[in-house]
């Protein structure tokens, strides 16, 4: 996947990767989850199969009907909501689909800035970034809290145990986590240069 800078100040390239990696700093916070809904292929430098979309080539119907049985209901909690809900991950096709369903479930709009039938548009998503009030995170098999969108959808469905919709303003911990992660990436990439 092309990672070369376009020479513009604004990096509009979308990929599935940690925010802040090789990106202009000011985009860190805004890109936190607004680019989750994109889903561009991430063939990338390391051909680690865990990072690759649509691999191995098992067709969508088969994936949906095998692996972990029929339904994959997980609890969803939302900061400030009096009770939790449950959502069936296996009935969604991808991150955008899921985020839209979460918005409808909690009757709030602001988890996913993009709601555009015409497809993802980098400029619009970045403009709307400030409207994103919430950060969707999930607990994985190792009981770590992860940001949605880093891994291919199928992998996410396999490893997600529960979801949480964290209020951005309350997500100081998450922000710090993201900053720390970004700093770590910058550090290790600076080491390899």
């Amino acid at each position: 996947m092309d990672k070369s800078s376009t020479g513009l100040g604004l990096e509009t390239e979308l990929r599935l990767g940690l925010p802040g990696v090789g990106e202009v700093e000011k985009n860190d916070k805004k890109r936190a989850f607004c680019d989750i809904s994109g889903g561009a292929a991430a063939a990338g430098a390391g051909n680690n199969k865990n990072q690759v979309v649509g691999w191995p080539p098992v067709c969508a119907y088969r994936r949906k009907n095998s692996f972990n049985g029929v339904k994959m209901y997980v609890k969803v909690s939302m900061d400030g909501a009096p009770f939790l809900r449950k959502i069936d991950l296996s009935s969604h096709k991808g991150y955008s689909d899921l985020l839209m369903a979460l918005e409808q479930l909690f009757g709030c709009y602001g988890i996913d800035a993009k709601n555009d039938e015409k497809g993802w548009n980098a400029e619009e998503a970045l403009e709307d970034a400030d409207k994103c009030e919430y950060v969707p995170i999930y607990e994985d098999k190792d009981t770590d809290w992860m940001l949605l969108g880093d891994v291919p959808w199928e992998m996410f469905v396999e490893s997600c145990k529960r979801l949480r919709i964290m209020k951005r303003s309350d997500a100081k911990g998450a922000k710090d986590l993201l900053k720390a992660l970004a700093a770590k990436e910058d550090y290790s990439s600076s080491l390899s240069n």
């Binding site: 994109g38 051909n47 690759v52 191995p56 969508a60």
Partner: protein, 581 residues
């Protein structure tokens, strides 16, 4: 000459020609044969819905009774084609509802079908008989209800692998009481439970029912009720194959199976409880097709079942069968023609089952009629591939997926060029090939030199340079479909072989190195190709021309530019202004 036979005689002669190729050849003989043939063509197959427009088809073939059409490219199955790309069937249905009132059959694959389309079909075609929706999406069970309610002579309703919004199971109850014409019903992709009594009554009143594929929600204990009402069944897809382990359930099931003397094909088998497998042993000797690819049962149970199926021709199974199970298969099933082994844990880092290249080698040795293979595994060697190639020179379809991209020969750590080279060199009838593992440009040289009958080639994470692509495009005379992902193929080979693309149905390239500039050039040079740049990063001209596009889909077409492109698809026309309006 053309005038020596009256039209009716020629028409009668042509009626014996069912193959499209033959009919196309006939229509090229002379103008009058063209005219006669076009008026009596009843079946049309359109491999790419955007290659032609409804108007063109209707104008040329005014008396069509059956349409078969495909939409999205194959890689859409792996989520590589973004949602909203296209392949909408509605314009076709609208046009045909006026032009073909006598239409009887519609078979679609990878297309977007809406309830509106289904309702229009149900209303427009009084003699509608066959609806097959394979890997389609966009409709709900309400659309199915319209079909059930209105198509008086419905013979086939087959929803294989489609994604249906399941509002309720009530649609099935819309088949009227006087509907007795069903021959084939495949509802296996649906989630909701249908009214069992409605299903029972439907099955009972359709004496010609040959194929019944149930959905998961139909409980095993009730299966005997259906089998008793349809002992003439040839193909059965069970629902969930599990129940409380009770002897009465078992004996009822066994008895019901024993009544079905015509059964040749079995599928379904979700949630299998192995204890119930012996209930079907009585039919095994007649079974020629067995789809156990959703059955999470272990090798010993699989072996017990499969070794009873001495006449098996087609087996789809999970890799739980393991090498030992495949060896047993090779020993028992000498008529085996097609084997598909799917991965039980494709995303796991480590192998979870003892399935290696050896299993496939055993089958290639033991099954003299083996001609079609789809095999997922985690290791492969050149030696194994060479053995397989030598054992089975009549192989027609060979699709190998080694789960780790660019995995080398695990014994020698070399690329698998030699192995796949042996496949194309020995298997002169090979029509379809999918390759994985570590592969250099060399393998493409072998393919270009030897794979003269190859029609479809799928490549991933392979090759070193444009030379690889050039070998394929310049050497494979019969190539119709080429799909490539994550390969370092760029502009040179593509542009040098532009003319070849007009002889093919389509070319797909994603995550390769084809620049936007080259795409534009290709679009300009080749007006009879649609060159679609699919890019979710925004307009390609907001980046340098040398920047590679995310995805490229090129296909020949005689239709006008399509009017239904979403915001992330750009058509590379000769006129640049048009392309970006």
């Amino acid at each position: 000459m053309a005038y020596s036979f009256p039209e009716e005689v020629l028409e009668h002669v042509f009626s014996f020609l069912s193959s499209d190729r033959d009919r196309n050849a006939v229509s090229l003989v002379c103008k009058s044969w063209y005219e006669i043939e076009r008026w009596c063509r009843r079946r049309v197959f359109i491999g790419n819905c955007y290659a032609v427009s409804p108007d063109i088809v209707i104008r040329r073939f005014p008396e069509v009774r059956a349409l078969e059409m495909k939409g999205k490219p194959h890689f859409a199955d792996f989520n590589l084609v973004p949602e909203g790309w296209g392949a909408y069937v509605h314009p076709w249905i609208r046009a045909m509802s006026e032009a073909y009132p006598l239409l009887e059959e519609i078979k679609l694959k990878r297309m977007v079908v809406t309830d509106e389309s289904l309702e229009l079909i149900a209303r427009s075609f009084k003699n509608f008989k066959v609806l097959v929706l394979s890997s389609c999406e966009g409709f709900t069970t309400d659309g199915l209800a319209s079909i059930a309610a209105n198509c008086r002579n419905l013979r086939e309703l087959d929803l294989r692998e489609s994604e249906v919004e399941d509002l309720s199971g009530h649609w099935l109850s819309h088949f009227p009481d006087n509907c007795t014409s069903l021959v084939s019903l495949n509802m296996s992709c649906l989630g909701s439970e249908v009214s069992f009594s409605a299903l029972e009554r439907l099955v009972a009143r359709c004496p010609n029912l040959r194929t019944l594929r149930l959905n998961r929600a139909v409980p095993l204990e009730k299966l005997p009720n259906l089998l008793h009402r349809a002992p003439q069944l040839v193909e059965l897809g069970t629902g969930a194959y599990s129940a409380d382990i009770r002897s009465d359930i078992f004996s009822n099931l066994a008895e019901a199976f024993s009544v079905c003397k015509q059964l040749k094909g079995l599928s379904g088998f979700w949630d299998v409880v192995p204890a119930f497998l012996p209930a079907m042993y009585s039919v095994c000797s007649g079974i020629t097709s067995l789809n156990l690819s959703y059955a999470t049962i272990q090798s010993p149970d699989l072996v017990k079942l499969v070794s009873q199926c001495r006449n098996l021709q087609r087996l789809w199974v999970l890799d739980y069968i393991e090498d030992s199970g495949l060896e047993a298969l090779a020993a028992s099933c000498k008529d085996l023609q097609e084997l598909r082994v799917f991965p039980s844990d494709p995303f796991g880092a480590e192998p979870n089952v003892a399935l290696t290249e050896q299993g496939l080698v055993s089958v290639s040795e033991g099954c003299p009629k083996l001609q079609s293979v789809l095999y997922f595994c985690r290791q492969m060697s050149n030696a194994a591939l060479v053995t397989i190639a030598r054992n089975r020179p009549e192989m027609i379809r060979f699709r190998l997926c080694i789960i780790e991209p660019q995995a080398p020969d695990y014994l020698t750590l070399e690329p698998l060029d030699t192995g796949f080279g042996a496949i194309v060199e020995n298997c002169k009838e090979l029509r379809r090939l999918s390759m994985t593992g570590l592969l250099t440009d060399k393998v493409f040289e072998y393919i270009g030199n030897h794979a003269k009958k190859l029609e479809m080639l799928s490549i991933a994470f392979a090759g070193d340079s444009d030379l690889g692509l050039h070998h394929v495009l310049s050497g494979c005379k019969s190539l119709r479909k080429l799909e490539i992902r994550d390969c370092p193929f760029g502009d040179k080979a593509l542009l040098a072989n532009a003319a070849k693309l007009e002889t093919m149905r389509s070319l797909w390239m994603s995550s390769c190195s084809v620049s936007f500039g080259a795409c534009k050039l290709l679009g300009q040079k080749m007006p009879r190709l649609n060159v679609e740049v699919i890019d979710e990063r925004g307009p390609p001209d907001s980046r340098p021309e040398s920047c590679p596009v995310e995805k490229l889909y090129v296909y020949r077409t005689v239709a006008e530019r399509r009017a239904d492109m979403p915001g992330f698809v750009w058509m590379m026309d000769g006129d640049k202004a048009l392309a970006f309006s």
